[in-house]
């Protein structure tokens, strides 16, 4: 009896940790796709770039993990801002398909570059000793890394919620997205707002890519491989809703982990059936705007 309860609890914790990681890599897309309405299929590629840069700092420059990750985030933000100023700027005005084409093209190019620079083998950030090992709470063992992941994601979620939904910047951003022309007419510097926002989205991706790499190891095809799951989180959460993404990521993480244990026969169906059900009941996502 107690063992089944313990099993359930430890699965639940795993599901939460997994969900939090999903949140971390997809929340940036909630901002670029959900809020800015850019069909940014390059999102996971930015996560990968972040991961590789952090790896480079740790392995080649000997920087400590806790410094390497923020550095990688900043570097990815810079790359993102640069690309936003050049490539993305072209496609804001175009229809969704143009954006899709451009960003998928960009993903291909990034993939090829990474393949040539870093090779095809899998890599992941070596965790510092402080994040290794397990600790136990009663009969429950929890890995330090997963606990850290949960904490970090929660902090990010809170900071973002404050930033987007509670500041003037957030309102300006939403105005610019709603109606660029009119936003300019009320004195909003639309290009600057977009650049900053896009860079933030990229930085979040990088954070997710770096911190999540023990679960989703880095490889050149990362950008394509983990695109769908990230899109699913954003869609299920509801376009542009940070809260929604958080709920969606947690829910999917839990359903996935529990489903695999309790409904093994359904295998890969579980998550897709769940998505189907959620979207049919709530076509605009968990938290619809």
């Amino acid at each position: 009896m107690t063992s089944t309860l313990a099993t359930f609890l430890s699965l639940a914790v795993d599901g939460i940790a997994y969900g939090m990681m999903l949140f971390l890599i997809s929340v940036g897309l909630t901002i670029t796709l959900g809020v800015m309405r850019v069909v940014n299929l390059t999102h996971s590629a930015f996560a990968m770039i972040g991961g590789y840069i952090a790896l480079w700092f740790i392995q080649r420059a000997g920087v400590h993990f806790f410094l390497a990750v923020p550095l990688a985030v900043l570097a990815t933000m810079a790359i993102g801002a640069l690309l936003e100023r050049t490539l993305y700027r072209w496609v804001y005005g175009t229809h969704g398909l143009g954006q899709l084409l451009m960003t998928i093209g960009l993903t291909f190019i990034i993939t090829a570059i990474v393949k040539n620079l870093a090779g095809t083998q899998l890599q992941s950030l070596p965790l510092p000793s402080s994040l290794q090992g397990n600790f136990s709470l009663g009969s429950l063992t929890l890995s330090v890394y997963r606990a850290f992941l949960i904490g970090a994601s929660a902090a990010v979620a809170f900071a973002l919620w404050l930033g987007i939904e509670r500041t003037a910047f957030g309102a300006r951003l939403r105005a610019a997205v709603d109606n660029q022309r009119m936003a300019r007419c009320v004195g909003i510097n639309v290009p600057a707002v977009f650049s900053v926002t896009f860079a933030i989205g990229c930085g979040l991706a990088a954070l997710g890519g770096a911190l999540g790499s023990p679960m989703l190891p880095l490889e050149p095809y990362y950008g394509l491989k983990y695109l769908v799951i990230v899109l699913i989180v954003v869609a299920v959460g509801g376009l542009g809703s940070l809260r929604g993404s958080l709920y969606a990521a947690l829910l999917l993480g839990l359903i996935d982990t529990l489903g695999r244990y309790y409904l093994p026969a359904l295998g890969a169906f579980v998550i897709y059936l769940a998505v189907l059900a959620i979207l049919l009941v709530r076509p605009r996502g968990l938290v619809a705007n």
Binding site: R174, D178, R181, C185, V186, G187, N189, N289
Partner: protein
């Protein structure tokens, strides 16, 4: 000697390669109100949006308080005092009423409180999202949003459309007070020519992108035949 706030010389402008406005020259002085009249599709809206830098300029110049503003992006023009009330209102649908106002706010005499005072209806609806507003409420919000940017020139594109008569009265009164100090100039596009002429000192009539008449508003108001021939009014009481 009053200050020349806006001055257009031989302005040609349009959408991409299509030229809509041709050789438009006009000026607006501080504290002055100018009516812009003409049939549907003659280019009134185009003139206002060109002032904010939203269209393609093919020739001529626009000077604002003495400076050539050709190179200014739209948001700078807005920050420096050009406030537009667009014809289709263009409320930000996913912002609340209050946010619609605060994103446009700059320091000045117009504050959130004063806008709410002018339009009590907006105060009631302050938490509603933009797309949930009634047509007239959107119109009020569009005007409020322009005012709260504390402009020097208010560009009004059919601001009374969809407003209840009482509200129109209140607005007319408010505009009158606003201009008293000479701090605000107004360019008013309005389909009801008589109303527009009553409210302004001077008027410009456009036809197919060109200015066909320019002069004092009372002159035109008092000359129904000319008005009819200029903008196609058949009968004027």
């Amino acid at each position: 000697m009053t200050e020349r706030v806006l001055e257009l010389r031989d302005l040609c402008a349009g959408y991409g390669e299509t030229v809509v406005l041709e050789d438009v020259s006009l000026h607006v002085d501080a504290g002055e109100a100018l009516a812009l009249l003409g049939r549907n599709g003659v280019g009134k809206t185009t003139l206002l949006t060109t002032l904010l830098g939203l269209n393609t300029v093919h020739g001529g110049s626009v000077r604002y308080v003495g400076q050539d503003i050709a190179a200014w992006p739209a948001h700078v023009r807005a920050r420096k005092g050009l406030g537009l009330v667009p014809q289709e209102r263009e409320i930000f649908p996913s912002l609340t009423v209050q946010e619609n106002l605060t994103v446009a706010a700059t320091a000045g005499t117009w504050t959130l409180e004063r806008v709410y005072e002018l339009f009590p209806r907006l105060a009631q609806r302050r938490r509603n999202l933009g797309y949930q507003l009634s047509g007239g409420e959107q119109q009020m919000l569009a005007i409020g949003r322009a005012l709260i940017g504390n402009p020097r020139v208010l560009l009004l594109d059919e601001p009374f459309e969809g407003l209840a008569p009482v509200i129109v009265d209140a607005l007319v009164e408010a505009f009158g007070k606003l201009r008293e100090g000479g701090a605000l100039s107004i360019v008013l596009v309005e389909q009801h020519a008589e109303l527009a002429l009553d409210l302004t000192e001077r008027a410009v009539v456009l036809d197919r992108g060109r200015i066909v008449w320019q002069g004092a508003s009372p002159d035109l108001r008092g000359d129904p035949e000319r008005l009819a021939s200029l903008i196609g009014l058949e009968e004027v009481q």
